[in-house]
């Protein structure tokens, strides 16, 4: 788990800096949404106790808010190398071998991010075309998809970047 707060050094090259800044901005936006969802949930509890009126559609808004913020968190998580790996056989392997394997994993995750962005672009378009909304408050579901598509695309770009960085370590 990555909740021990061990930060990896920030990239110093221009491409890395731009990607890092973009990913960090997305985390801040996602964190703000998540914090807002938390506060809304507490307000809803208080409203139900004190005035017998919870926030209208609080469950749905929390679900949509969670989905949007999770998408926004993904690129930064990858840049922080936050995704858990199994460290068994290769923890004592030479750093170059590990860098090569990390590069391959990066390509795999990059393809996943890219395909998700492409398919969710179409999925969001479907949601918009068919006017899909949440059951109670009628919140248009397609609103979540631009965030998801942007995050998937940025995730793909970040993966490409980390894979190139890892490959440089292999050949150097």
């Amino acid at each position: 788990m990555s909740d021990t707060g061990a930060d990896i050094p920030r990239p110093t090259d221009p491409v890395g800096r731009v990607l890092f800044t973009l990913a960090y901005l997305l985390v801040l936006v996602g964190g703000a949404i998540m914090s807002a969802v938390t506060v809304m949930t507490v307000v809803s509890v208080l409203g139900r106790w004190l005035f017998l009126s919870p926030v209208y559609g609080d469950f749905e808004l929390a679900a949509v808010g969670t989905a949007v913020s999770v998408f926004l968190f993904l690129p930064y998580c990858h840049l922080q190398r936050g995704n858990v790996v199994v460290d068994l056989f290769l923890s004592r392997a030479p750093p170059r071998a590990n860098a090569l394997l990390d590069a391959i994993s990066g390509v795999l995750l990059g393809v996943i991010g890219g395909v998700l962005a492409w398919r969710m672009y179409l999925g969001g378009a479907d949601m918009l075309r068919y006017g899909e909304v949440t059951h109670i408050v009628g919140f248009p579901i397609w609103y979540a998809f631009p965030f998801a598509v942007a995050s998937g695309a940025l995730l793909a770009a970040c993966c490409l970047y980390t894979s190139v960085v890892d490959l440089r370590k292999v050949v150097s």
Binding site: S2, T41, V42, Y76, N83, L90, L101, M120
Partner: protein, 439 residues
């Protein structure tokens, strides 16, 4: 290839990918997608992924995860760890090994407002290690007790792994949290007994600390009131159905935030650090959840779990033998894998097997009983070599302690864990007692 063979090859490829350091989530998505395509072709998959990730993430029950992670972050910065440790120390410190017992008591208290083992271990180490050093505790006992005590973060509700398990087997989160209470307290007591046996055998390892009079005890206990209030509010509220688990998590996150501002001096900068750290953990967990979704859809399409249930049902193995085999597999996997990934990876295969056997209890009880056993067994992985994450966290905090000393120090606690697993398997009532009482 039959679909059963496709599923078996998928699992084999997954193991190879994991061995080559591919992140767990990436490996599960890759194999899930590959298996899906080999069974149904490309078109259904491409259609499925248009919205699959959205529907996986947009789930009210899952909103609890980022909120509990935020709560853990704020709790670590609320300055409560020293209050908890000091209060336990005034009651236990004068005994032989008492300071180590106090560290475990502090971990148990912190685990009551924090759902993460690593955060519990790391936070309590900051206050307990200097005291353990001051009273000349052996490195092995000091770090071993803290590494083991950290696992109480996950056993005592709230617990993030338990939330993940509940969602994976479609169990009621509320009753799961109720079921975890007695096993969690039992774990803390077991560790304290372990310390007392340990110092009886090695009297030099845990000298006596200071004795405190009753006034100091009461005052130290009073200092811990924010923990009591938050635990009573969040867990009490969830147990008695005053609010949903997600609402409880939101109340807990806001409550610990206020205490972190008031007592921990949390600044805007610190707040942003908390949110970003919680975000990275959230993304990691949700990506594994997405991987588990693809992987379990693939397994379900292959009908492999159902076939496996039929094979095991026809093999004449007794349910207890099957359960013990699963426990052994978990112990082995736990040596190299993260507990949360392990639960998500194995539950789609193991739960149908367990559910298909006759343990003489209704399915809802079985979900709780098996879930708590699985939770404890996967948590043991946090303190076993070669990859015990809690051991690493504590060891890096304890300057001058060799990793081997910590692993040696943790062994008696490991034994206590195994005894407890045996008790929980033999007496399901320990787990089921509270949920039945509150029903």
């Amino acid at each position: 290839m039959t679909s059963f063979e496709i599923a078996l090859s998928g699992i084999a490829i997954l193991i190879v990918l994991l061995a080559f350091r591919v992140p767990v989530a990436v490996a599960m998505i890759t194999v899930g997608v590959g298996g899906y395509v080999s069974i149904t072709g490309w078109a259904p998959l491409l259609n499925y992924v248009k919205t699959a990730a959205y529907w996986r993430f947009a789930n009210y029950d899952l909103s609890i995860i980022p909120m509990f992670l935020l709560m853990s972050q704020f709790a670590s910065r609320a300055g409560l760890s020293s209050a908890l440790f000091n209060s336990a120390n005034t009651f236990l410190g004068h005994r032989r090994g008492g300071v180590a017992m106090a560290a475990i008591g502090g971990c148990a208290g912190f685990g009551a407002i924090c759902g993460s083992s690593l955060a519990t271990a790391a936070t309590m180490a900051q206050v307990a290690l200097p005291e353990l050093k001051r009273f000349r505790y052996s490195n092995a006992l000091a770090t071993g007790a803290l590494a083991a005590g950290g696992t109480l973060g996950i056993l005592i509700p709230p617990s993030i792994v338990l939330v993940i398990y509940s969602i994976a087997v479609e169990a009621n989160i509320v009753t799961m949290f109720q079921a975890a209470l007695v096993p969690g307290i039992l774990a803390a007591l077991g560790y304290i007994v372990t310390v007392s046996l340990y110092v009886r055998l090695n009297p030099g390892a845990g000298p006596v600390g200071q004795r405190a009079d009753r006034r100091r005890r009461i005052r130290a206990l009073g200092e811990t009131w924010p923990v009591v209030v938050i635990f009573a509010l969040v867990i009490g509220g969830i147990y008695f159905g005053v609010f949903t688990p997600t609402e409880g998590a939101a109340v807990g996150a806001l409550g610990t935030f206020l205490i972190a501002v008031w007592r921990g001096g949390l600044t805007l900068h610190g707040f942003i650090d908390c949110v970003v750290a919680a975000s990275v953990s959230t993304a990691m967990i949700f990506l594994i959840l997405l991987g588990a979704e693809f992987f379990s859809v693939f397994l379900a399409l292959s009908r492999m779990p159902a076939d496996l249930v039929a094979i095991i049902g026809g093999s004449g193995l007794s349910p207890m033998v099957v359960l013990l085999l699963i426990v052994v597999i978990y112990l082995a996997l736990g040596m190299v894998m993260d507990s949360l990934a392990m639960i998500l990876l194995t539950v789609p295969i193991f739960w149908p097997i367990v559910a298909g056997l006759d343990f003489g209890m209704p399915t809802d009880d079985l979900k709780m009983w098996f879930g708590i056993i699985a939770l404890i067994v996967v948590e043991i992985g946090l303190i076993t070599p070669p990859v015990g994450l809690n051991v690493f966290v504590i060891n890096s905090a304890a300057k001058g302690t060799r990793l081997k000393e910590t692993f040696v120090g943790v062994m008696p606690f490991l034994a206590s864990d195994l005894v407890r697993v045996g008790l929980l398997i033999a007496f399901p009532a320990i787990t089921l007692f509270i949920p039945h009482l509150l029903k």
